[in-house]
Symmetry: C2
Subunit: 381 residues, 2 copies
C-alpha cells in the first residue's frame, strides 16, 4: 500500500474552498491494492459541510453504504442529502459544529475512481478494473487527513456497508479515530450475506448486455435488467417480510391482472412486483453495473479480523476508541445478533443501541433513524 | 372446467396394474383453465404404492412441492423416493396399509402435460403454454378418483407448494377429502413470497438462451444459468441464515481464493457459493426452465380465498375435514405465523404442530421430518 498524497496534486481544491455539499476531489497517484492489483491513478471525490476548527478536532468522516455517495447532507441548492435527517445545521451531526467529510467509495460510480473511469489507455476500465476491498477504500480515504490538515477524526460513522467501512477505518488506523459509530452492520460478511451478494453479481453477469463488463458505449445502456434484478434482490433484504405484507399484501398493481391470461408475457403485476420494478428502475438510472459488482465483491470480502488474528483480536485491541454500535431490531440482512457479537468483541463497556422499527435494515436510512439521535449525542459529546 | 376422464383413455393402465413407484398416466382430454386458457389434451402422470382396499377407503394423495415429482417413495429398483423417510412399507404413511397416489403437477416437467409437451402442432408448447393455477392442478387430479374407483381420499397431504395444493384440494372438493395435512405452507402466497417468485421468473427470462420460452432444441440446453440463479434464490429461502453460517461461515471453497486477484473472472469462491452452485447445477440437470416458470407463477396465484369470500370464509367452511397443520419453527419462507393463521381460520380444534429444527423450510424434507410421525399417526388413525 502506498499513497502519494503529499503534495496535493495540482488542480485539487483546498479545505476552505467550495461551498458545503459540492464535489471536490483529490488525486492520489498510484494505489497498490490489498489483494495484489494496482491502480496507476486514483482520484478520490468527496464533499464537506461546516468549518474545520483550527486544531482540526471537529472533523467527522461519514461513509456511505453500497449504492450511496458523498452527498450525505443537502448541497447549496438541493435537499437531496441521503442522510439529511441526521446531518445538517442543527441536526444531531450538526454541521454548525462539526466539519463533516464524506468521500465517494473507491470502485464506485459517484466520482472516485471506479470501473467506468478511463484507464491509462483512455478506455473505461470495465472488465479490467481490479478487485478492491474495504481496506483499499479506507486507504484512499486516509489521504484526506493529510490533505485537510487533520490528525484524527473526531468520529467515523457509517451504516450498512458504511458501518463495515467505519469499522475497518478504526481497525486499520486506530490512532486516527477518536470515536466510531457502526450502524446496522457487522464485523465480517456472513455466509448469508455472501450468498445474497453472489446472486446479485450473477444477475449482472447473466445479462447479455453485460458483455463481460465491457458494455460502455452500448446504446441500450448496458446490463440494466441484470442490475435491476440485483437491486430487487438487495432491496428485499433491506425490508422486512412484515412491512411488505402490510404495504402490499396480494394486491394487484392498479388495474393490472396478475392472474395471467393465456398470453404469458402480458400477465399483470402484483403491487409488490411493481414496487420492486420501481426500486430497480430507480437504481439503474443512477448506478453503473460494474461499480455495483465491484463494491458488492468488496463487501463480500469484509472481515475485520483478516490478517489480524481474527475478529476478537482485531476488535479487542481498539482500546482507545469510543464506539457506538447500533442495530435495527427487524433487520434481516445485518442481524441484531451480529451487532451484539461485534459489541462483545470490542473492549468492555460497549452495548448495542437499537432502532425499533418494523421496516427492516433500511431503518437506519428512514425517519426511524432519528432514534439514533440520543446515542449519537452521547457519542459526539 | 371440464375433464373428460371417463372412459379411461386407451393405453392407460388400471389401478391394479404396475409395480409400486412406476410411472403410469391418464389422458384427460381437454382442460378449460381457471384463468381462461385451454389445453386441448392433458395427460396426468402419477405413481402408486400399496393396494387399494375394496371399499376404496385407504387411498392417500401425496402432492409434491415446486420442483418435486410423483416419485414420493422408492420404486421397485431404486431408493430415490423424495419422501422415503415418511412413505413406504412400515413408515408412518405405511404402504402396507395405505394406497398412496402421487401425481406429477400439471405445468411441470415430471410427466404430466407441461410447457415441454408437444402442442397439437407437434412442437413443444414453450412460450405458448397457458397460465395455470393450483386449482387447475387439483382439477386434473380429481380425475384420479374416478379412474381409480375412489369416492374420497382418506388423506390428502403435501408440504410447501404441495401443502398449498392439498389445501386447495380440500377447499375445492371438500366432499372428497376426509383428512388433510398441510405442512410448511400457507393459505395464500404473501407479498414476500410473490417478490421472491418474481425474481426467480425474471432470472430465467433474463438468460439470453431463454429466447422468450422457445429454447427447445438449443444445443446448449437453454437458460440453464437463469434457472440456476432462480434455484440459488429459492434455495436460500429454503434454508436458515444460521444453518448457512454454521456449515460454511466465511470458509473458502477448498483451495480457492475468494479475495480476487486483478483478474476478476478468476476470483475463487467461498464455500457457500460453491454450495449454491451445486444446488443450481443439480436442479438444472433435472428440471425444465419453462416448467419452473409455469409452476412458480401458479404458486404466486395461490389464494385459497379467491372467489370464496376470502380465506376465513373458505377455510371456516371445511367442517367435515380433519386437518393437520404443521410448520418448521425456523422456516423463513413459509413463516410459522402463516400456519398459525391458517389453523385459526379453520373450524375450531386445529392447532399447529411443529418441526423443531434449525434448518429452515427444508426441515419438512430432511430427517427432521420424522418429527411429523406423531401428528401424522394421530391424523391417519
Amino acid at each position: 500500500m502506498s499513497i502519494d498524497a503529499e503534495p496535493v496534486a495540482a488542480g485539487t481544491t483546498q479545505a476552505s474552498g467550495p461551498a458545503d455539499g459540492t464535489p471536490r476531489s483529490l488525486d492520489l497517484g498510484a494505489l497498490e491494492l490489498e489483494t495484489g492489483g494496482r491502480l496507476p491513478e486514483v482520484r478520490l471525490t468527496f464533499q464537506t459541510w461546516g468549518r474545520l476548527e483550527a486544531d482540526g478536532g471537529n472533523a467527522v468522516l461519514v461513509l456511505h453504504a453500497l449504492t450511496g455517495d458523498a452527498h450525505v447532507a443537502d448541497g447549496p441548492e438541493d435537499s437531496d442529502g441521503w442522510w439529511r435527517d441526521l446531518v445538517g445545521p442543527g441536526k444531531v451531526i450538526d454541521t454548525d459544529r462539526f466539519f463533516v467529510v464524506a468521500p465517494a467509495a473507491l470502485g464506485g460510480c459517484a466520482g472516485s475512481t471506479g470501473p467506468a473511469t478511463p484507464a491509462p489507455d483512455g478506455e473505461p476500465w470495465g472488465s479490467r478494473f481490479p478487485f478492491v476491498t474495504l481496506r483499499d477504500m479506507a486507504a484512499t480515504e486516509f489521504a484526506l487527513l493529510g490533505h485537510l490538515g487533520i490528525d484524527a477524526w473526531h468520529t467515523v460513522i457509517g451504516g450498512s456497508m458504511g458501518g463495515a467501512r467505519a469499522l475497518e477505518w478504526a481497525a486499520t488506523y486506530p490512532a486516527h479515530v477518536r470515536r466510531c459509530a457502526v450502524l446496522a452492520s457487522c464485523a465480517a460478511s456472513t455466509a448469508e450475506q455472501i450468498a445474497l451478494s453472489q446472486m446479485q453479481v450473477e444477475a449482472i453477469r447473466l445479462d447479455p448486455a453485460f458483455e463481460g463488463g465491457d458494455y460502455y458505449g452500448r446504446a441500450d445502456g448496458g446490463p440494466i435488467r441484470g442490475l435491476g434484478l440485483a437491486r430487487r434482490l438487495a432491496h428485499l433484504s433491506y425490508r422486512s417480510e412484515a412491512e411488505l405484507g402490510q404495504r402490499f399484501g396480494r394486491d394487484p398493481q392498479g388495474s393490472e391482472q396478475p392472474l395471467g391470461s393465456a398470453d404469458r408475457e402480458r400477465r399483470g403485476r402484483y403491487a409488490v412486483e411493481s414496487y420492486l420494478d420501481h426500486q430497480a428502475a430507480k437504481l439503474v438510472g443512477r448506478f453503473d453495473a460494474n461499480a455495483y459488482l465491484t463494491i458488492t465483491e468488496a463487501l463480500m470480502s469484509h472481515d475485520v479480523g483478516r490478517g489480524r488474528g481474527g475478529i476478537e483480536a482485531a476488535l479487542g485491541a481498539l482500546e482507545g476508541i469510543e464506539f457506538l454500535i447500533a442495530a435495527v431490531d427487524s433487520d434481516r440482512l445485518y442481524l441484531p445478533e451480529q451487532s451484539e457479537a461485534m459489541a462483545a468483541a470490542l473492549p468492555p463497556g460497549v452495548s448495542v443501541d437499537y432502532i425499533r422499527s418494523p421496516i427492516g435494515h433500511d431503518g437506519f436510512l428512514t425517519s426511524a433513524a432519528t432514534q439514533l439521535e440520543p446515542p449519537l449525542r452521547r457519542l459526539l459529546g
